[in-house]
């Protein structure tokens, strides 16, 4: 699991990591290039943006709302796939 901080600088991200006590990798997409690449129409919605990439490197799940059930199912399906 990688966290990707979008359109924020190093200092802001670092302050948040320290406050939240995160131990996961927090990556920086300062210009939002990759975040905006998921847009399928000019109607991006706010964070979070969740992406699951399978073992073959294919995106198998994208959601711009937090949906725990759907996310769990997507990760489980990707893990179960050959």
């Amino acid at each position: 699991m990688w966290l990707v901080d979008v359109k924020q600088d190093f200092d802001t991200a670092w302050e948040f990591i320290a406050e939240a006590g995160l131990s996961l990798p927090v990556l920086l997409d300062e210009d939002g290039i990759y975040y905006e690449s998921y847009a399928t129409e000019p109607a991006l919605t706010p964070y979070p943006l969740h992406v699951v990439v399978d073992r073959a490197g294919d995106i198998v799940y994208v959601n711009r709302e937090y949906d725990a059930d759907a996310l769990r199912d997507a990760i489980r399906a990707a893990l179960d796939a050959e």
Partner: protein
């Protein structure tokens, strides 16, 4: 100290007791106590200073009664009566009759080429601004068309002081932005004013008084000077001040889940008049002097009336998503609730939901006045007009029902409107089946239909007597991955990201592993 503040306000909410003197709130025994944790601070003093003032040298007298001065020697306003008086009984309310129909009409929708629109501010009968991370746009309310637009730095919430023609905006950083809107099509941004070291959430401005909800730094009252300057007058401590409203000599503040009514006739020494606990954590507020509508972070809105300077809880209504923004317009109220734009009646007998509309993308900011609403939807501005005295049944039904491992699923339907709702279902194909073909739901009632599992995807058609949603379909599917947004599989570029640990993460190196990416921002 913040815990003490919450405790004090919370107790005040439960007791039929009169307001305490300035700077006091009721303790568990119902006595007015602890000046420093609830009262006004003189300009220049800080919450931290005050916390230290609660020791034996604090400003309470020997009898534990209200003091008359704080440690700086600044006299405190003790004019409020400290006499026992019962909480008044407000008059009975009766819900009026409504004409059955669709009360909401969308009048315009426009994509704004600036992302992250989160706020809307109506400035007159014809126009309003949508505001966000990437700029502002002036919108014609009748058509939704853009009159003018411009890039500007990030804005979170805004409030117009009509007396000075200044639009005051929080930035969620250390400063607020004043903008001269005397010429609304060519507004002039004034220098940012530093107001706090922490997050600012909300702002309210009227007649030269500006109040900022600055989370844990409290609620800060300023005098606005010429050319957008601010002079701090006082600061009310808070656990986390999230939302403020201001009308004349009365202000309302949401501190986590506590709503407080303040007398700000002397803004250098605001006085607590009453406080109540809300049904959840408040995230947004609108106040018109008589009514207070609070948007709750946990789905819903709550109506509170101000009656003889007491707060009277009128209950709330559900919204499918956090109520990011609320607006009162006379006897009506609008809520931008992420997944819906909701119109409610808040006049006599209210609140009740009259109708709702799906958002353009996600409804985040909203203002309403003159029978019209302006909504910021991240990338899209939408305008609506309402009909007076119109309401009816309102169906809430999911678009998709998922089946896992051949097990049956339950379709839950709710009537969010104010009259009885009838829904009829068609027989689905694909081997799916329903245990009933019709539901009749009273206002606010939920009903369910058990759907037996089939295979593949097939629509379940329905019809209803909801005036604006008379027919629709629920997609029945056994594809677990169809939840969320459907995407064709696509290869993710082998990007590399620098991390905050100054390491480089290369996605292409993760081939053969499942990767979950969570894109976020801290604001």
């Amino acid at each position: 100290m913040s815990t003490l503040l919450l405790l004090a306000f919370g107790c005040a909410s439960k007791l039929p007791s009169p307001p305490c003197d300035v700077g006091f709130a009721r303790d568990e025994a119902g006595n007015c106590a602890t000046i420093a944790d609830t009262g006004a601070l003189p300009a220049g003093d800080t919450a931290g200073d005050t916390a230290g003032d609660t020791d034996a040298s604090g400003p309470t007298d020997d009898a534990g009664g209200p003091g008359t001065a704080d440690d700086t020697g600044t006299p405190l306003d003790t004019s409020a009566a400290d006499t026992e008086a019962p909480r008044p009984e407000p008059p009975e309310e009766t819900l009026p009759d409504f004409v059955i129909g669709d009360p909401i009409e969308r009048t315009g929708k426009v994509f704004i080429n600036y992302h992250e629109l989160v706020e809307a501010v109506i400035i007159d009968e014809a126009r309003g601004y949508v505001l966000g991370d990437g700029g502002w746009a002036l919108i014609e309310l009748a058509t939704g068309e853009v009159i003018a637009e411009e890039y500007m730095k990030r804005v979170y919430r805004g409030s117009v002081d009509e007396s000075s023609e200044l639009l005051w905006m929080t930035t969620r950083t250390a400063g607020v932005l004043p903008m001269d809107i005397s010429d609304p099509e060519s507004p002039r941004l004034l220098p940012e004013v530093a107001v706090s070291d922490g997050y600012q959430e909300d702002i309210a401005a009227s007649d030269g008084l500006v109040i900022v909800a600055a989370q844990e730094e409290g609620t800060v009252l300023f005098e606005a000077g010429p050319a957008g300057s601010l002079t701090e007058l006082s600061r009310v401590p808070a656990t986390a001040s999230y939302a403020v409203g201001l009308v004349g000599e009365r202000a309302v503040v949401v501190d986590v889940d506590t709503l407080t009514l303040l007398d700000v006739s002397d803004p250098a020494a605001p006085a607590v008049l009453d406080a109540i606990l809300l049904d959840g954590e408040g995230r947004s507020i609108d106040f018109d002097g008589a009514n207070i509508l609070i948007g709750l972070g946990g789905d819903g809105a709550q109506l509170v009336r101000v009656y003889e300077d007491w707060l009277i809880d009128r209950g709330g209504f559900f919204t499918p998503g956090a109520a990011y923004s609320v607006a009162l317009d006379g006897d009506y109220a609008w809520v931008a609730a992420s997944n819906q734009v909701v119109l409610a009646w808040v006049g006599e007998g209210g609140p009740v939901v009259l109708g709702h509309e799906p958002p353009a993308t996600v409804a985040l900011g909203l203002d309403a006045e003159f029978g019209r609403a302006l909504v910021s939807n991240w990338t899209t501005s939408v305008t609506y007009v309402r009909a007076d005295g119109v309401g009816g049944p309102e169906i809430d039904i999911p678009e998709t029902l998922r089946f896992i491992d051949g097990e049956d699923s339950v379709l839950v339907v709710e009537n969010a409107g104010l009259t009885e709702l009838t829904i009829d279902f068609a027989e689905p194909g694909g081997g799916y089946g329903v245990d009933k073909i019709s539901l009749v739901l009273a206002p606010g009632e939920r009903g369910s239909v058990t759907v037996t599992a089939g295979s593949g995807e097939t629509p379940l058609g329905w019809t209803s007597d909801d005036p604006d949603e008379q027919a629709g379909e629920v997609l029945l599917t056994d594809d677990a991955l169809s939840l969320g947004e459907a995407h064709e599989p696509m290869a993710l570029a082998g990007f590399t990201y620098p991390s905050t640990a100054l390491e480089v993460y290369d996605l292409s190196e993760q081939l053969g592993r499942v990767v979950f990416l969570d894109y976020f921002a801290t604001y």
